[in-house]
Symmetry: C2
Subunit: 388 residues, 2 copies
């Protein structure tokens, strides 16, 4: 009897989630115990509609494109799951001779992974989680595949826009980074700097309550000194009551809609300080950029896919692949297995030691932790202003 | 007596303006008739403060970084110029033995170029314009250095975000492109498509009056059919009265401030159609991206710098370097000299034949015109949804 694999993607994609998928397929192809790798085309909903595609049937030349394809090549979903769904899933797995179920996603997906593990544990169907999130908010791992590329994107963008502002220093520019509750991506913009005074000049994270007065003081002081100012802010900035700093624009029966933090703050600078300001919100561009993939992130994502299938074949179940950093001067990680119930629904935020006292920048400790993840130095630029 | 060159940058930078600067310096180094190349550090204002740096004193290994450095390596400005300024400039040029004045910029800079030419014409000081704008709105040239890279950026971003939306088709996404009065950049997003149905699904240009009812009809129809929809819009969309489609947020004594077109339209989709929507506004990222420079654009920008100095040395003055496309199946251009007064302050918009009848897309004719400028095909992606 063939022992097939099912891969399911959940939640928002990253620049390297397909590299993990590639890792699963390459491991399956080299392991004679493993049959087909099915992709659930469209996330968890595809399990119930049995929309499975045999990915092992594709040539490797074609499959290699996965390493440089952003978004999810098998589709994803935010389909909510209930207890009866899990029972139904187990039946479908048996119908397709699926012995290995690999779920690749963030906190919500790891929660589903735990539930699926529960219904499959007596059926000899093994369930392993592959972490994926640009937000880096999954617990029990040094960092998460997808984050390094989002970090490289924001660092490179801050470096480039910083160069633009330095060359035409007429405004304050507010750049918005993804990550609503955790500031990991916003913080990574600090990697744009090569020397004292380089952009970004201010960084505001959702781990701190936003103080409008201090923000305006900081911006005003820097603008007086140098002209152009680049501020990087998290999309999730909130006040001391935990409310968004942007007033709600309108409400529907289901949700409240807020404007963008970046344009809100740019408007505030114009209104309160009378300084020209503008906002940039690369948004989804920041999780879908192939040109700014981190090569380290890509290889780690691929390795997580390989390890997930290998662990399942070795009999592991109810676990997620995590990364452990090996202490030392040279960056090295090793995979580890984390019990899925220790991961489920816990949101990991930036520790205090990564944020400066005033809450408008990161610390050297954060920079040292983050630097290897973006996969190599950013390009060197030539600016003649540095020579006068 | 040495015959020096002065290079001045004006207005907003592009991803390849420094490639033109490199072209000037390399041409100067190989021409024994030419002395130093001074860079005016900080735009036209630097002429009056005599903030000049001798760029020929740098090693070529260092200077080559200019080809891959975004923004302006010598700085730029939006300093307004008056008649008495031009007279003063001529004195300073003589003080520094400057025989060749090269101004690199957009429409405003070409206007200044014309005025400087007037005061220098009897002094044997030659004045040549190098066109530069991401907006592609300079007249009398097939296209303009800086545009090809901005076009590649928006096309690649639309392709990547399109892939993201296709993989998790839960929302309408409105991406905002730069170019307030001319839709060239917005239009270039169409180059993201490889096959029927690919993103972007709708494109709205400032050459047409924006019709809200038709926009909502278009979005609604596509969302019904396919789920995720990517719309690319110009930052300068306006109604039939020429007013911005975004209501003013607040006014100061000097200016009226509007919100972003992209977030305005995303909010409209949520409110009027009850469909989840979000906005992306890469903004300055789109003119500063090194990773998405068009190699064709870079080489043409460099060539424009070389030609500008060469023409000045040959005795030309009061002209701008333009590009003429050589008819034929293979893309080729040749430089031409355009009298500066034919260029000054004329804003070039997209012709009617480049826009479809409903005003929600571009035509095949535009795509054929634009395609060679982005410098090679965008990457191929693998999406398994195409196989079911």
């Amino acid at each position: 009897m063939s022992q097939n694999v099912l891969v399911v993607h959940g939640g928002g994609p990253t620049a390297v989630i397909n590299a993990s998928l590639y890792g699963v397929i390459e491991e399956a192809k080299r392991n004679p115990e493993v049959g087909k790798v099915y992709g659930a085309i469209g996330g968890t909903g595809a399990i119930f509609s049995e929309t499975f595609l045999d990915l092992t049937s594709f040539e490797d030349d074609k499959l290699k494109l996965l390493l440089h394809t952003p978004a999810s090549a098998i589709g994803s979903s935010r389909y909510p799951l209930y207890e009866k769904d899990y029972e139904k899933m187990a039946e479908i797995f048996r119908k397709y001779d699926i012995k290995y179920v690999l779920l690749n996603g963030g906190n919500g997906t790891m929660d589903a992974c735990g539930h699926i593990y529960e219904v499959c544990r007596n059926l000899d169907i093994r369930v392993v989680g592959i972490p994926k999130t640009i937000d880096n908010d999954i617990a029990m791992t040094d960092h998460c595949p997808g984050y390094g590329s989002a970090a490289r994107y924001i660092a490179a963008s801050a470096q480039e826009v910083g160069e633009d502002i330095k060359s035409l220093p007429i405004h304050v520019c507010i750049m918005e980074a993804m990550g609503r509750n955790a500031g990991w991506i916003t913080a990574a913009s600090a990697l744009a700097r090569r020397k004292q005074g380089d952009a970004p000049h201010l960084i505001y994270l959702p781990e701190r309550n936003f103080n409008e007065t201090e923000f305006l003081e900081d911006v005003s002081r820097l603008y007086e000194k140098q002209g152009g100012v680049l501020v990087v802010v998290s999309e999730g900035l909130h006040n001391a009551n935990g409310e968004s700093i942007v007033p709600p624009i309108f409400k529907t029966e289901r949700a409240v809609y807020y404007g963008d933090v970046s344009s809100h703050l740019a408007n505030l600078v114009v209104k309160e300080l009378g300084i020209k300001a503008r906002s940039e919100k690369p948004g989804l561009c920041g999780r879908a950029s192939v040109a700014l993939q981190s090569p380290v992130d890509r290889e780690e994502a691929r390795m997580a896919g390989i390890q997930a299938l290998r662990s399942a074949v070795e009999g592991k179940s109810g676990v997620m692949i995590g990364f452990e950093r090996i202490p030392g001067d040279i960056y090295q990680i090793q995979p580890k297995l984390v019990p899925i119930k220790e991961v489920m629904l816990y949101e990991r935020k930036m520790p205090d030691t990564y944020i400066n006292e005033r809450g408008n920048d990161v610390t050297e400790e954060f920079i040292n932790w983050c630097k290897p993840l973006i996969g190599g130095d950013l390009p060197e630029f030539l600016n003649f202003r540095d020579y006068i």
